[in-house]
Symmetry: C2
Subunit: 322 residues, 2 copies
């Protein structure tokens, strides 16, 4: 069922929705963030929260009842904590929508609505989880509170997948330069702001730590000046995921500082890939994470080649019980 | 004015409050987190959000109006981004409460209500910013929605400052051991869960990166298994801030993994310092961050002595315009 229809059906059953709760783990948690950010920014009545699944499971929010919509995500559909979260959401009578790549996976068992997304086909396909979550958020806001930029968001959705795919394909030369420059670094910091904040997060904890075993830290570009910037010195490695939209001045201020003190800086900038000429300015903030995710995937791939460390290599995950 | 009276007065002016918005930077942002967490967990109607000040300033939430209470914090009261956030909150007609140590500081200019907290006197005084924010959160919930455990929270508040002070004073031997063991490490990870999640955050970005120039990363203990744990190897340094309460099983699972693979692990455990015998079980979750903050301050002090790097030493902060 399409997101619009799902929310329409929920509204038919439950006229008053008070809370929208996003639940996932790791990259799937991060992929829900742009949707959470969109609602946090634009909703006036709906309560919005976002949990790693085991936090949700151990400290269930008082708002979890039939007035809540829960949106959960798991690529393989078998993340145990997220499957458990689904069971808890269902038991509480919440309206449960799950996003997964994997048909008939455990995540689908308790879900009222399932959206299957693509993943491996190309760079654009990897964005569908994030994109469907954002689409659901837009539908929830529009149908429950009304949303003036609904049409502009639809224009954005109609453009972003092709734009992100072509941006990723055009990034290979810069990505190879990045890979050669960073392949021997013992630690790398990642930062961003706005809707892209958790793309920086998943870049740090998944692409760097999990998939490359490189030490990494992450913070909001606005927080950089309230602690982390004291680590800056000549050649300390940073990746700045730069937004085109409301929070660009925050990212730009961090970039100025990094350049001033000659930190080793790689910038992936949505402006360079034409986001501002494809997506309406009124809603551009929310499409940065999709574009930047696609481009940085190429950077991560090139880094894995330069380091001869496949992105699929693990010490523990998929190998041990823990 | 006392928190109870402040919220009573706001309620006299504005019967319907829809949103509670927490705004700060760095350690002051983190100090607001237990209050945010408390409301996120327990409120059924109130919308809750939490921003680093410049994110708030550049992407003002649609909910910022006379139905919002904004709670901002800045130790010195002169953090430019937070002072600007106050101006924006006031211009939008929100009810604005500010926490600061510094009388007549710029932060007090636009605030409708100012709470001055102590700081330098002892370890307990350093907790007052966090404690007042939580007290305000409890009052907001109780007065606007009702809160069954209100009495238990008051017992908790009556105990936590003395408990935290004596816990900190008793931690010095363990803190010295930690300092000797970690003083030469090039990177250290910090994790926690529940209400203590952003104590781990401020420990990482402020105590380690800002005040010791040690590389550091941070994540929720529940997220550990969804990426970061692949960095674990023999002797990789971790600090685990362990909660006594709902999310303890999440922290304990991370500890089991760290021990199994012989990571270099320091645990600061609220259980060791008697939290469970001082604070009612119904509300214990919310007092972990105060106790652990006090104890870990001693660890940070000892680390600074062992490294001959004062906690007040800076490269950039207080020295340059940026």
């Amino acid at each position: 069922m399409e997101p619009k229809q799902i929310i329409k059906e929920i509204k038919g059953k439950q006229e008053e929705i008070k809370s929208v709760i996003f639940v996932g783990c790791g990259a799937s948690k991060a992929d829900l963030y742009p949707a959470k950010y969109f609602l946090d920014k634009n909703a006036k009545k709906l309560r919005i929260s976002h949990y790693t699944a085991n936090e949700f499971n151990h400290a269930i929010p008082a708002s979890l009842d039939e007035t809540a919509i829960v949106i959960s995500a798991s690529l393989g559909g078998n993340t145990p904590e997220t499957v458990e979260a689904n069971a808890k959401a269902k038991a509480a009578g919440a309206h449960l929508i799950s996003l997964t790549h994997t048909h008939n996976s455990p995540l689908t068992k308790d879900a009222d609505y399932i959206i299957y997304h693509r993943f491996g086909e190309n760079y654009a396909a990897k964005l569908e989880k994030m994109g469907y979550a954002l689409t659901l958020a837009v539908e929830i806001l529009d149908q429950y509170e009304g949303y003036d930029q609904y049409g502009d968001m639809q224009i954005g959705f109609s453009k972003i997948y092709d734009l992100a795919q072509s941006a990723a394909e055009s990034a290979i030369v810069d990505a190879k330069k990045f890979a050669e420059a960073y392949k021997n670094d013992p630690v790398v910091y990642v930062m961003s702001s706005g809707a892209t904040t958790e793309v920086a997060y998943s870049t740090s904890i998944c692409l760097m730590m999990e998939m490359q075993w490189i030490n990494s830290g992450i913070f909001h570009s606005g927080e950089f000046f309230h602690g982390p910037f004291e680590i800056v010195d000549k050649d300390v490695p940073f990746i700045l995921l730069m937004n085109c939209g409301s929070t660009r001045p925050i990212d730009a201020r961090a970039l100025t500082f990094l350049k001033r003190f000659e930190a080793k800086t790689t910038v992936v900038d949505a402006l360079d890939y034409g986001l501002s000429s494809s997506v309406p300015k009124t809603v551009i903030d929310y499409f940065n994470p999709m574009l930047i995710t696609a481009v940085f995937r190429v950077y991560a791939e090139q880094l894995s080649y330069a380091r001869q460390h496949p992105l699929t290599k693990r010490r523990y995950m998929w190998k041990l019980a823990y």
